[in-house]
Symmetry: C2
Subunit: 199 residues, 2 copies
Amino acid sequence: MSIQQGSEDAKTKIMKASKKLFAQNGYEGTTVREICEEAGVALALVSYHFGGKENVFYALFEAVSPDFLNRDYELQDPEADLRDFIQEFIKFRHAEPDLINLLQQEIIMQSPRLEKLQTYIYTLWLQLRTILEAGRERGCFYYGSLKHTLHFVIGALIFMKKVPALDALFESADTDGNEESLEDIIASTILFILNGIRI
Amino acid sequence: MSIQQGSEDAKTKIMKASKKLFAQNGYEGTTVREICEEAGVALALVSYHFGGKENVFYALFEAVSPDFLNRDYELQDPEADLRDFIQEFIKFRHAEPDLINLLQQEIIMQSPRLEKLQTYIYTLWLQLRTILEAGRERGCFYYGSLKHTLHFVIGALIFMKKVPALDALFESADTDGNEESLEDIIASTILFILNGIRI
DNA sequence: GTCTATACTTGGATAGAC
DNA sequence: GTCTATCCAAGTATAGAC
């Protein structure tokens, strides 16, 4: 066994390059040639290591193990659970922005690849649904339609993307020039969502 | 001049077909061949009438004149303005779901076509921003970061898509079997957003 | 204005040398 | 395990008849 020294192997390079490019230009908007050029390896290596473009895509998600996916909520205090859920989601989003970005694209495009990703997505949003339901039962939360509320919350959590075409819209939005720490973002997201459904 | 009788001309057929397919499979996921097949016309007619695939795309947005884009808010009562804005947006979304869907995809994918669509988008969300700012100044609304609040509200408004992969998540979410009238959706969206930012 | 047939381009995957 | 060179499929756009 050889110690990893200096440059990584082609497989790793391909995964890093593809994560970046997929997030930037989408799955279909990215070519294998671009990936290999970005990775600095030969074209053939995508087929050799992964067996095709599509498998590179799946490998990106398999490589990540989001701890919070397996988090078990006690549901004793749904409001605290919801705060925790939002916090964990935003932390993950912050750690893996490209992956979240890519996932978001795939969801919106209803890509045929979603089926194999269903496990990740479904588990995640099911936690949210369970918390929301428990909260309503216990009288912590108030909302009319669970379905719509899920849409609202997911939308608020997932839609956080830098859109060059809209930069001017958000620019100088908060002129006090404050830094946006991760904590600030978490706090204001929790505030917005909880206010939206709290009695 | 001839009266339109029975079947439309190829140009209209192409626009209808492409709106449907673009919304369903995305711009890049749709081929000119598919469009012409769906429209029941010959392949060459896309180039003949529009000068290429991309111009078909733009034609879809040029054809629509969303009245509410030019709506002028007095800002005397920001809360009422916001209610009105949400209502008008959802009504438009309901009337042109394919177009909103397509726009949403393009935004998330940061497509190169967004530049030419900027006019529509920018005007729309600028109205929202203006209302939010006026509301904060007048003490109707409370929120920490304008930028994040814009993200939340836009996310809540725009993310409303049937995702087959997540159907089971929303299914039987509201077991009371109520019909979802447009008014219900509007009401619950207004409720969620206003609660989120109201003092 | 609409058709059929085809040219041109690009992208994914493979063969075979090293 | 990585490379270069090549094949094949699919997509856009064009030419030319009707």
